[in-house]
Amino acid sequence: MSAVTVVDHGAGNLRSLRAALERLDARVDVTDRPADVERAEIVVVPGVGAAGPAMERLEAAGLATTIRDAADRGAHVLGICLGLQLLFERSEEGDIECLGLLPGAVRRIDWARTVPHMGWNDVSPSGAGPLGDALPAVCYFAHTYVAEPADAGDVIATTELEGRPFASVVGRGRVAAVQFHPERSGPAGRAVLAAFLRRAADAA
């Protein structure tokens, strides 16, 4: 059984994420205490809302440092939605510095007529990736910003929005992140979370 630590930075709906992980038999600890993150082997950075306030809360609570340290010491880190964006170096949303676990920046979707990108869309793997047979999949998105990884090797899967692809799954080493909401993506999302947990268990 995997023990998963979900970082609570005050940005709403963690109940469905907790439930989705528990359905996969994970033991889930939702916490806003840096000490809990310091000990965690699997850290999930969730998030809805805006990047600026979320980063402020992570910094103020001392969580930003412990998440960076967790990645440095080889813990598995999974970012979800806004959580994916927070893993990069900078976000245009609020023009702020983020966690910097992955090189690249986050910018507003400026090419599509209809924004937010809201609904179910294809997640197409760029090659053999850590989420294995969970992809390709059709998953649920709700976001206005996208990450642009500086290193193309960090792109695990892409999603096309109005004729242009963006990075919808990214990762490097034990850090991975998804722009969609696996906890709200039915059986497809469940398979993605299961693949992540399995990979973490295999590496342990």
Binding site: R15, S16, V48, G49, A50, P116, G119, A142, T144, H181
Partner: protein, 250 residues
């Protein structure tokens, strides 16, 4: 490719699923969480809950039902009805809703939309626009369609989006409950006036009507009675939409 969404809508009173005709003759139809889970399994892309009861006790019952839904339902849940300010919107999100919809309170105080978007993020703020035909256009109504506001519904839609709404739920009061099709002119007018997703509501009589609403420009089509009565399944609607060349999640 981004799929068009098919969305069953459930009326919830005091945490229970009810069904009736235009808010009358309401009968208890069981647990809305069971119904939401059934629809999710049947392929619904999202579920909308419309709370039709007032009062603090009913609100607490609603929150408890949303909490249970968050644990069991693995597709997005949008909840509205009775959201009168930031506090209740946050209540719903913390209970497990993915989006909240706001209607009368936003018409009475448009700044509320700005406030919700700033605090919660546009992607979870839905403005519900109830519109009735008037003077060659449409007038926005408050209070569940009961109070005309004198505002042009398309202009109000545009303002709501400028203030930060991430989605509009557009209901034709004229077509609602009639099962004779959506007001496609209204759907087309609002869809072309705004750059956020539009959910079409009011008047679905069958799968073909829902496909027509999507073809008119809606990102999602919502229906209640045709699903609850078993007249059509979510799969029926998706097959029809796919046959019309619309991308859906099958």
């Amino acid at each position: 490719m981004l799929r068009r969404r098919i969305v069953p809508c459930l009326d919830v009173r005091r945490g229970r699923l009810v069904k009736g005709i235009r808010f009358r003759d309401l009968r208890d139809r069981g647990d809305p969480v069971d119904a939401a889970a059934r629809y999710a399994e049947a392929g619904a892309d999202e579920i909308v809950w419309l709370n039709i009861s007032a009062g603090e006790e009913a609100w607490a019952e609603l929150l408890r039902a949303v909490e249970r839904a968050a644990r069991r339902v693995d597709v997005p849940l949008c909840v509205g009805g009775g959201v009168d300010g930031l506090e209740r919107a946050r209540d719903l999100l913390l209970a497990g809703a993915d989006k909240v919809s706001v209607n009368t309170a936003a018409l009475d105080r448009p700044g509320l939309v700005t406030e919700l978007a700033a605090h919660l993020g546009s992607q979870c703020v839905v403005v519900a626009v109830d519109a009735a035909r008037a003077n060659g256009g449409w007038e926005a109504h408050a209070a569940g369609g009961g109070r005309p506001t004198g505002r042009d519904a398309v202009a109000w839609s545009r303002e709501a989006v400028e203030r930060g709404a991430g989605e509009l739920l557009v209901t034709s009061i004229d077509a609602d409950g009639g099962r004779a099709g959506y007001d496609l002119d209204l759907i087309a007018a609002v869809s072309s006036a705004v750059d956020v997703p539009v959910v079409a509501s009011g008047g679905a009589g069958g799968p073909a009507d829902m496909a027509a609403a999507l073809s008119a420009g809606a990102s999602a089509a919502l229906a209640a009675s045709i699903f609850h009565d078993g007249q059509a399944t979510v799969a029926d609607v998706k097959q029809e939409a796919a046959a019309c060349g619309l991308p859906v999640r099958l």
